[in-house]
């Protein structure tokens, strides 16, 4: 693939994309997709994907690009509808790889029930762009009255994850050749709007949801704690995880809580509605291993955002009990769950 902006090469890429996505909006070939009006509030999200390697067991950059955007819409209660696709390709990327990625995006979009309606491609010189970068943005519609912002969270509310943690991170990590590991792990990349719909339709009072990606469950819990000034406690014995992920956690010294996922959500459900929520989630193919992993401990402050110059680490001399996010360990002890920091696994998603 050669370098080019406009011209025969870009036309060829656009032709391939149109064939893969079969959208009348793309076929209309306007500068913008002009979409029908939507009911309810419009949810809008975007994300960029830089994962290396591009292809891995369970998925590829295309699949996570579509699923990630679909999931970000789903967890705010939106029905995902339209997605954009921005590609930055490195000169030298094979057409075969490109076609595989686009086919993967099309399949993920079909599964999620969304349409890829607009896009862009650029080709950069070799040595920049590491093969391929993808950006997706997505639009969805949020029904009136649905509030997943976390207001209304109370002490005792259940913290639920939709399935096993760390599958994506450890799958990609295993492929970083120098480690020499082999396992049957697969990325969990999946569109979760169906799962979320099942959960919301179950009648369980869902207060809050997050898509768990980079930074893992630890990041999701800290977002919740920050947003609401809540304190949370989770139970290590309750965390769902495959044996391979646990083994790699031990071998590599990486905390399962900080491992990236591409097909998992965390939800806070009102105390009393847990069983209903679990039943709905476990009835869905992407929620079979859903589990309660902990509880909201302290009623959140009424201030909507904790913000400010709070130090990320425990304060000097601070009791673990004072930490916002804690975990009861498999030994029966207690430890803090730190904000994930730095990047042990760069280019993970």
């Amino acid at each position: 693939m050669g370098h080019g902006a406009g011209g025969a090469l870009t036309e060829e890429i656009v032709r391939i994309a149109r064939a893969a996505f079969s959208s009348r909006y793309l076929d209309a070939a306007l500068d913008s997709a002009v979409l029908p009006p939507t009911e309810g509030r419009v949810a809008f999200t975007t994300d960029s994907y830089v994962v290396r390697p591009l292809f891995f067991p369970g998925g590829d950059i295309g699949r996570i690009a579509v699923c990630g955007t679909v999931n970000d819409l789903a967890v705010v209660g939106a029905r995902p509808r339209f997605v954009s696709c921005g590609l930055i390709l490195e000169e030298g990327l094979s057409f075969d790889s490109l076609e595989r990625v686009l086919a993967s995006m099309a399949e993920a979009a079909r599964e999620a029930g969304v349409e890829i309606v607009t896009g862009d491609t650029k080709v950069v010189e070799k040595g920049h762009g590491d093969g391929l970068y993808v950006n997706t943005a997505g639009i969805g519609s949020v029904p009136p009255g649905l509030d997943l912002s976390g207001s209304g969270i109370e002490g005792g509310d259940a913290i639920i994850v939709s399935g096993t943690l760390g599958d994506h991170a450890m799958t990609v990590m295993s492929l970083r050749e120098s480690l020499g590991f082999e396992s049957s792990l697969r990325s969990d990349a999946a569109p979760l709007n169906g799962l979320v719909a099942a959960l919301l339709e179950s009648g369980a009072r869902v207060r809050f949801m997050r898509d768990l990606t980079r930074g893992g469950l630890a990041a999701g819990l800290h977002e919740l704690a920050d947003l609401l000034g809540a304190s949370l406690e989770i139970d290590e014995d309750a965390l769902p995880a495959r044996s391979e992920v646990l083994a790699l956690s031990d071998i590599l010294g990486i905390d399962v809580l900080s491992m990236a996922n591409e097909g998992k959500i965390v939800a806070v459900v009102a105390s009393g509605d847990e069983e209903r929520a679990l039943e709905a989630m476990r009835g869905h193919r992407y929620g079979r291993d859903a589990a309660i992993v902990g509880r909201v401990v302290a009623a959140p402050s009424l201030c909507p955002r904790a913000g400010g110059a709070e130090r990320a680490g425990p304060r000097p001399g601070a009791d673990i009990g004072a930490a916002r996010v804690r975990m009861r360990t498999s030994s029966g002890g207690v430890r803090i769950v730190a904000r994930p920091s730095g990047e042990k696994l760069p280019r993970i998603c």
Partner: protein
């Protein structure tokens, strides 16, 4: 860097073996454990097997802990030493 996980040797070819834990396998050097055999549990550090885990000794250790604690619970008295 003391991190070393116990893994089971599933294959041995000269000075190199494959070790397994929880479904994950990896290549390990046996340069430091020339007499390691398939089925042995070894501690793996930085890609090398550094020592064997003696399963029988592990069992005896666990029994010793069990015995101390049981004895304590039964008699409410003082413990013996923890054992070798």
């Amino acid at each position: 860097m003391c991190v070393a996980a116990p893994m089971r040797l599933v294959s041995v070819e000269g000075e190199v073996g494959q070790a397994e834990l929880g479904g994950v396998t990896r290549k390990v050097s046996l340069a430091l454990l020339p007499d390691a055999a398939i089925g042995d549990y070894v501690l793996v550090h930085a890609g090398f097997a550094i020592g064997k885990v003696d399963e029988e000794e592990a069992r005896l250790t666990l029994e010793a802990i069990d015995a101390i604690s049981d004895k304590r619970e039964a008699s409410g008295g003082t413990d013996d030493g923890p054992g070798a």
